[in-house]
Amino acid sequence: MTELSQSAAVAPWCDRCGEAAATGAHTACAAARALEPPRYCAHCRRRMKVQVLPVGWSALCVEHGATEG
């Protein structure tokens, strides 16, 4: 994980559903994320370009750059 995704814990948006992180617990989103890459940038809510690879994934926000997992 990069620094960016670690700081996503305090970011304003849910990286799975793209809704405000403060609205609701997003427990289902957190559980689903075990088997999914992020889809929304947690900082700006933009949809990211996500490439899943056999091992790992990478996600790109035009504003906030790349994240890998």
């Binding site: 088997l35 889809r39 929304y40 949809r47 996500v50 899943v52 690879l53 056999p54 790992g56």
Partner: protein, 331 residues
Amino acid sequence: MPEILDRARTQVLENGVGLDEADILAVLNLPDEHLPAALQLAHEVRMRWCGPEVEVEGIVSLKTGGCPEDCHFCSQSGLFTSPVRSVWLDIPNLVEAARQTAKTGATEFCIVAAVRGPDARLMKQMREGVAAIKAEVDIQVAASLGMLNQEQVDELVEMGVHRYNHNLETCRSYFPNVVTTHSFEERWETLRMVRESGMEVCCGGILGLGETLEQRAEFAAQLAELDPHEVPLNFLNPRPGTPLGDRPVVEGKDALRAIAAFRLAMPRTILRYAGGRELTLGDLGTRDGLLGGINAVIVGNYLTTLGRPANADLELLDDLKMPVKALSATL
């Protein structure tokens, strides 16, 4: 022992003749208490007609998202409000994905694109990508690029693509409920051309799309009629924003009944665990399926979702004393 399993023992295990649609349905309808016997028989059939080896495959998405088709389960359709964005994989990263896949011991690497069928750009990317993989990685290359015309079939053969995946997804009678932008028959036509070209046919589908058990049996019978080299079996992983996004996942025992039934319908095919098994079956169920007719797995991640780590599957195979099929055995 239910009568259907007795009959299957003679017909399928001893004589290698798959069950017909009515008998497949009888297996899908078996009560829970007979499920272990059905799985045991399916396992014996697999061992007798396929052997203990497990074929391991990795897959990668060469072109993700933005597909013009409307397969109602698919997060890559551009017609739904799915969060999946369009993205292309470049050739160095494609080769690296093949290398990572080969490292797991996998013998198959399937390159997938979210398209109705390939255009010139995709065929060019394939040509360069397959050549680069073949130059650098010891692995067999398969492809899944939607519906093909004859020239494209011929070109893929020339590139050295040895197997082509094109799923029927569901049975003929339910297909129009799942896809409206093309027909079951159009998919069948691509499969026919692939078969005639000499490439191996890989064709399966997804369970849990809302089909009835009768339709699940119909699907298995239609696949048996096609007689593919490989059948990948997916279980719906409901994707946000798709028309099937709110459907429940297939219940574990129903998934296992389906695995046994599909094996008893197709004693000799490679029956592969594909997407959704983590959600539907979990770790225990995954093991049960490998002891119930499954003889191939996709390891690592899928196209838009993630799988279990490859190591977890490889350790399980080791534990079950099921050898991974070697590349030499596939050539």
